[in-house]
Symmetry: C2
Subunit: 249 residues, 2 copies
DNA sequence: GATCTTCATTAACCTGTGATAGGTCTGCAC
DNA sequence: GTGCAGACCTATCACAGGTTAATGAAGATC
């Protein structure tokens, strides 16, 4: 079994994410409100399950550090990854609004999550309209990510899909402050990539090789770097705009 | 060019959707708030564009009658339909929250839409927290639909995809009060189906034939009926729950 | 009623991707 | 050390689904 521990609240005043340029600061009052509502930090080991499909929603989380992913499975085990989650992403908002989780969330690396109780969501709307707006913003933003993903899976070829995924993850990791030099950590195995793109593992491997040989990506030891971003974008037919600064809970 | 006309407000007191079992009534006060905010009705002819990708968001709509769909295209014209829109669905919430439309919306049949101005969204959060909550609910619900769609496109075979789409649309049309006898209108062409499922038109046709011959669906003259829903579900590996009653704007 | 368009359909052929089966390398438990 | 497991990589073969092209039916349009 996977370890999952709930630590006492880490002070939001020292939040490592909020200072990043990708996030909106919010008013001091809003920040204290959020800080007060935070129940603590949940730690989940790489490979552990954060939310299990089918269960009623109990908590909502903000991913504080580490990587995770959201997925669904068919009854015979085929898996589709809908989205990769990076620090600052909300986990479980969708399930929170509706009845129960219709997807699972799994930790890709060791992960820590700021935890909020079920009642917090409603409190937000009642006492802090701008934060309620921000929640909807995040929901809309997440839908946009899935929109982009389905375009890839439905209409891009294998090479285009891999290229688009690499560009997409690279930009997002950069925005989350994870870029070091010209590289980002890339904790996904090829199986994850395959399951995110609707490909088989073998073909995913072939296609990654192809992009490597073409000099378009460097991917080794859990690290990704892109030599010529513009060229990779061209291969991917990928021209999505970078996200604007986003709210943080 | 396609005709698009804005009619004077149709009285919300006679809303044909709200009495349906699929929708939540809301308080009288909320209903008047919405009614007051409504600018009028937009009519768009079948095939017309409701929202164009790339443009800044101006209005938000509720689909009052008719069918529409949300899609994105790649630069070379390949199209992916993300979602089919039925009466009661919100159009343009995602674009409204973020900067501009990152997808287009096109009318599948003649369509009429209740129109709201940009400022309404913010007013909702400020003065009617429960409605703000409802907006997020709808955003989360829409994301869930795309989640289901990407599972199909990524991991289901062609037969499974078609079967799942038929079941899905059938249930939704039923909830929107469109079922007559054991049939629903089905205004999608095979090209729409193909673009929703990431298939070619030709293969879509082959596969529909297959399901017809197996006696699982009847689809002709823009009308769909399903003989044995349970059997079709089994083919599709589709076991999504019906949606709970939903808010209406 | 001649001409166009759109949509559905079918056939013939081809290819991108899947399936299967193997291999290597690395890290880790004992 | 030895054994094992997980991730990556390669080769070969098979097929689901794509591509191209042609046909017919049903409405529009003139």
């Amino acid at each position: 079994m996977r370890a999952a521990t709930l630590d006492p609240p880490f002070p939001c005043t020292h939040c490592p994410l909020r200072p990043l340029p990708g996030f909106i600061d919010g008013s001091a009052e809003e920040r204290t409100f959020i800080a007060r509502r935070k129940l603590g930090q949940l730690h989940v080991v790489a490979g552990g399950t954060i939310l299990p499909e089918g269960q009623p929603a109990q908590y909502m989380f903000t991913l504080l550090s580490g990587w995770a992913f959201r997925y669904k499975t068919l009854s015979d085990g085929r898996r589709q990854i809908m989205n990769v989650l990076l620090p600052g992403d909300l986990v479980g908002l969708q399930s929170h609004m509706l009845d129960s989780h219709r997807h699972s969330v799994e930790a890709l690396t060791d992960v820590s999550l700021c935890t909020f109780g079920r009642e917090t969501v409603w409190a937000i709307y009642k006492s802090h309209p701008p934060l309620g707006f921000a929640l909807t913003w995040l929901a809309a933003h997440e839908e946009r990510l899935v929109d982009d993903a389905i375009l890839s899976v439905g209409r891009r070829s294998a090479v285009e899909r891999i290229a688009a995924l690499m560009v997409h993850i690279f930009k997002r990791a950069e925005a989350a402050g994870l870029k070091q030099g010209d590289a980002i950590p890339f904790p996904l195995t090829q199986e994850h990539v395959a399951d995110a793109l609707g490909l088989s593992i073998v073909h995913t491997n072939r296609t990654i090789q192809h992009l490597r040989r073409a000099g378009l990506i460097r991917l080794a030891d859990g690290t990704l770097s892109i030599g010529d971003l513009r060229a990779l974008r061209r291969v991917a037919l990928y021209w999505e705009q970078p996200a604007e600064p986003r709210p943080l809970f």
